[in-house]
């Protein structure tokens, strides 16, 4: 029993590192050539050009910071949710072009590692998404357990803060 929990904890830690590294890597590749990334985004034909440019400049940095957060355990829960959301958007975009049958470069990892085989791209993104999802579910359970143990006064306090925010 104890060794099982240990193994899972080990896996959890490893996965944070792996996925964090992955996003860090993907972000850095794209940051090096945002011009190319903007062209790749425009190939998806989902966003107007200027929105694509903004995405090309901004999203890789979000990936880098969030990837770093996962590895360094700094604002980790927030980064986890951010990346889950990002992956959903990526999957959605990929799916949309797949349906339309556009033959495009994905641009996900810059130009060095590009493929336009949708099945592979989709499977890869789903795998990443699943990994993030599992971590999220673990983190969620952990959070609830923590909140339960920290008593009623604190949870009341936080819910009051919630209502206070517009």
């Amino acid at each position: 029993m104890e060794t099982g929990t240990k193994a899972i904890n080990f896996l959890e830690k490893g996965l944070y590192w792996l996925l964090g590294g992955l996003f860090l890597f993907a972000g850095i590749l794209k940051v090096r050539d945002p011009g190319q990334f903007a062209v790749d985004i425009s190939n998806y034909q989902l966003l107007p050009w200027q929105a694509g440019v903004a995405t090309a400049l901004y999203v890789p940095w979000v990936e880098i910071l969030a990837g770093f957060s996962l590895i360094a355990n700094w604002n980790r829960p927030g980064a986890l949710r951010l990346l889950l959301l990002l992956m959903l958007i990526f999957l959605h975009a990929l799916f949309a072009v797949w349906l339309r049958g556009l033959n495009i470069e994905c641009g996900c990892f810059g130009r060095e590692l590009s493929t336009s085989n949708y099945a592979i791209l989709f499977a890869r993104d789903l795998l990443i998404f699943a990994g993030l999802g599992w971590l999220f579910q673990r983190e969620w359970k952990h959070r609830i357990a923590l909140e339960l143990s920290s008593g009623a006064s604190r949870s009341q306090d936080t819910s009051a803060r919630d209502r206070g925010t517009p």
């Binding site: 062209v39 050009w49 200027q50 901004y58 940095w61 910071l65 927030g78 949710r81």
Partner: protein, 144 residues
């Protein structure tokens, strides 16, 4: 220390804004905010009109060419490539810039013609340019 995840996410999003802004203004390979970015070997109409000593090539069909074309442009398409190219080659000088156009943004025959001019006539890559937006952009510019 125990900030809420949503707050953490916002912190990350805000922090990412700084390097993004820096790369947007000073970064290498930063994208052009201007919508009509040029693909390789393309030229904008305004620049094409300013090019001295340029020869214009109409890569559309003969019927379209006969109806109307850029004044002075020669017809050269892949329907009758060889005989048309023969006529063109006799007046071509290698130092001239060739500007090829087809119907619009979507058509690719101008790119095909440009490629074949490089391959078969040995025209230099920098001297064979495709007009961005094609015939439609030219027609648009004629309107008052």
């Amino acid at each position: 220390m125990s900030r809420k995840p949503a707050v953490q996410a916002i912190v990350i999003l805000l922090l990412a804004l700084f390097p993004a802004l820096i790369t947007a203004f000073w970064g290498p390979n930063r994208p052009n905010w201007d919508r009509d970015q040029l693909a390789e070997g393309e030229i904008r109409l305004t620049d094409a009109l300013k090019t001295p000593n340029a020869i214009w090539i109409d890569a559309r069909t003969k019927a379209e060419y006969d109806q109307e074309h850029v004044p002075g442009a020669a017809l050269l398409n892949e329907d009758q490539w060889n005989s048309l190219l023969l006529a063109f080659a006799s007046q071509w000088q290698p130092d001239q810039v060739i500007i090829v156009y087809c119907d619009s943004l979507q058509c690719d025959s101008s790119h095909q013609v440009a490629k074949r001019l490089q391959k078969e006539l040995g025209a230099e890559k920098e001297k064979v340019l495709v007009l961005k937006g094609g015939w439609r952009s030219w027609k648009q510019a004629q309107k008052p």
